[in-house]
Symmetry: C2
Subunit: 329 residues, 2 copies
DNA sequence: CTGAAAGCGCTTACAG
DNA sequence: CTGAAAGCGCTTACAG
């Protein structure tokens, strides 16, 4: 049983497929198709359970009503929540979302980009990994609109939506200092990512501004690929060096660090702050001060920009949005 | 600058577009296109940065190399992880994934299904919500293959992959009883979902088998729509009734319950078990015994079945897979 | 070894 | 008010 097409409906009614198409696309009124014909078309389309074939429509119109979303890892709660917001907003406009996880690999990222382009997505939201400058710049020569989220390639005019990473980290570090901490560690992953590196800058700046010397051995980073071991090693080494507090660059970093500290029974006497808030922190007995990212607003802003590009191909203003993220206790 | 097509390449080389298509699809050898021509085609395709237009290919072949995934909520860690496994396995076979969240609403679920069908996805993985029997049965008349995951419409022959929900719950409840608990509560959401209802059955059965009377006032359920309030109310009421332990039907239920209990400072003296393991539990100070779902295997099994349907349209065996999930401490 | 042609299902200017 | 026709970019049997 093959799917019913516009032509099937047209044949059944003895009208042309153009008529059917116009009616079904709500352009019947404007192009003065008679009410009776329109009614018959709609009725039979309904009866036959007609579903438009988007491949055909896309081929004709060049539009797919599909967006591509490339994150580092869809199973990371931050990106999962972001995906959900994006799905909702896109859905309201009649768009579906295709997703892909880059695992912070520029190669994988590039492959996903190619696939999404081949599938003619109307626009792309992406968190570009390290070393993806060339790939992203290449994308600029395609006609497909895109917006960066959570991070942005440095020094390149591409729209992006992110939080004020430096200030977030600065505020958290300052908070620790005011609590009396002096041996403050900074734990992160993939330090080359622009957002992470800014978080590190904010940490360093806060120390300097408060007259505390920056000790590079207190700045640790795991790699994405060997994440758990990397974090565990970092924590072990920091404990050896001697610290009184830690700034976690992301929730994933914080959770793994706390899990390891708990296993080693070394939670006491340390203070923690973290960028990102998660339920894990709420349930943990260690008080931890967080910067909660406005994930909904990140998604909304990014999609607003993207849809503006999509809806008006002549619109070429670059918007780099930086949201302020505040400490929540 | 419009995208380069097969025809552009053909014109450039003075060959037919058929030749180009064959070469680019690796069928040049078999259909004996000369090595020289093939080489030239590949070279120029590369130079011009040719990208196939999938809309055109799909229209012709009827295939999109895209799968649809419908979960309850992509931001729920269980589904987010599932999505990641599905993405990986699909990706290896050259498929992309489009996702949608039903919010446990049959209407929304039906709409997502329609959209995915119109977009010609090659197959669908789905966690059907309550009251979606009619919609799912309707899908059976379409030619598009699909597999249920995490749950399955009861009494209908459709492939599904899920854990042994009843046994999981039975084991957890039995564990509590053996620890000496007698006033054991069961907290869930949307009790009408087949997987949740089975978890409840397992709980009841364990109590009976151990000779403990089932007290219906200890069985509580929140709705998906008013989740937090529902759980909080359930916990409050249970505390009033008096309990010594709780079986959490899912991690989301468990986390919200624990957050509320913690706020009310009522953690002590209670024992907890939960279906699903999460980092939240690991970091919480309350010992909690879990059934960890084999999410990777769920995804892998579901995709294996789905791809078998996709790759061989004549294959029509229905597979209902039930994985055993064991207690992990 | 390669080309000409049909056709997938739609949309849209054009003609009447 | 409606139809005939072209064309989006591909693939694939067919012919030579």
């Amino acid at each position: 049983m093959t799917r019913v097409s516009i032509k099937n409906i047209a044949d059944r009614l003895g009208v042309s497929s153009a008529t059917v198409s116009l009616v079904l696309n709500g352009k019947g009124e404007k192009l003065r198709i008679s009410k009776e014909v329109a009614e018959k078309v709609r009725k039979i389309a309904d009866e036959l359970n007609y579903r438009p074939n988007m491949a055909a429509r896309s081929l004709r119109t060049g539009k797919t009503r599909t967006l591509g979303l490339i994150v580092a890892d869809i199973s990371n709660p931050f990106f999962a929540k972001l995906a959900r917001y994006i799905e909702n907003i896109a859905g309201e406009k009649g768009y579906q979302v295709m997703f892909g996880s880059s695992d912070e690999s520029a190669e994988k990222f590039g492959r996903l980009l190619d696939l999404f382009i081949e599938k003619n997505v109307d626009g792309i939201i992406m968190a570009p990994p390290q070393n993806s400058e060339a790939v992203v710049k290449g994308l600029m020569t395609e006609k497909i609109p895109f917006v960066q989220i959570d991070r942005g390639i440095e020094g390149v005019p591409i729209s992006s939506v992110q939080i004020n990473n430096e200030l977030a980290s600065y505020a958290l570090t300052g908070y620790l200092i005011e609590q009396g901490c002096r041996k403050i560690a900074f734990v992160a992953y993939n330090m080359g990512l622009p957002n992470i590196s800014k978080r590190c800058t904010g940490y360093r700046k806060a120390l300097r501004d408060y007259g505390i010397e920056v000790n590079d051995s207190l700045v640790r980073s795991a790699s994405y690929e060997r994440f758990e071991e990397g974090i565990n090693d970092a924590i072990d080494e920091l404990l050896d060096v001697g610290i009184d507090s830690i700034v976690f660059a992301t929730n994933r970093v914080g959770i793994q660090s706390l899990i390891h500290l708990k296993e080693r029974k070394k939670m006491t006497g340390l203070q923690f702050v973290s960028i990102d808030y998660t339920d894990e922190y709420a349930l943990s007995d260690i008080p931890i001060t967080c910067i909660e990212q406005p994930i909904g607003e990140l998604g909304e802003r990014a999609l607003n920009i993207l849809f503006r590009y999509i809806d008006d191909p002549s619109y070429n203003v670059i918007e780099q949005v930086i949201l302020q993220a505040k400490i929540c206790k």
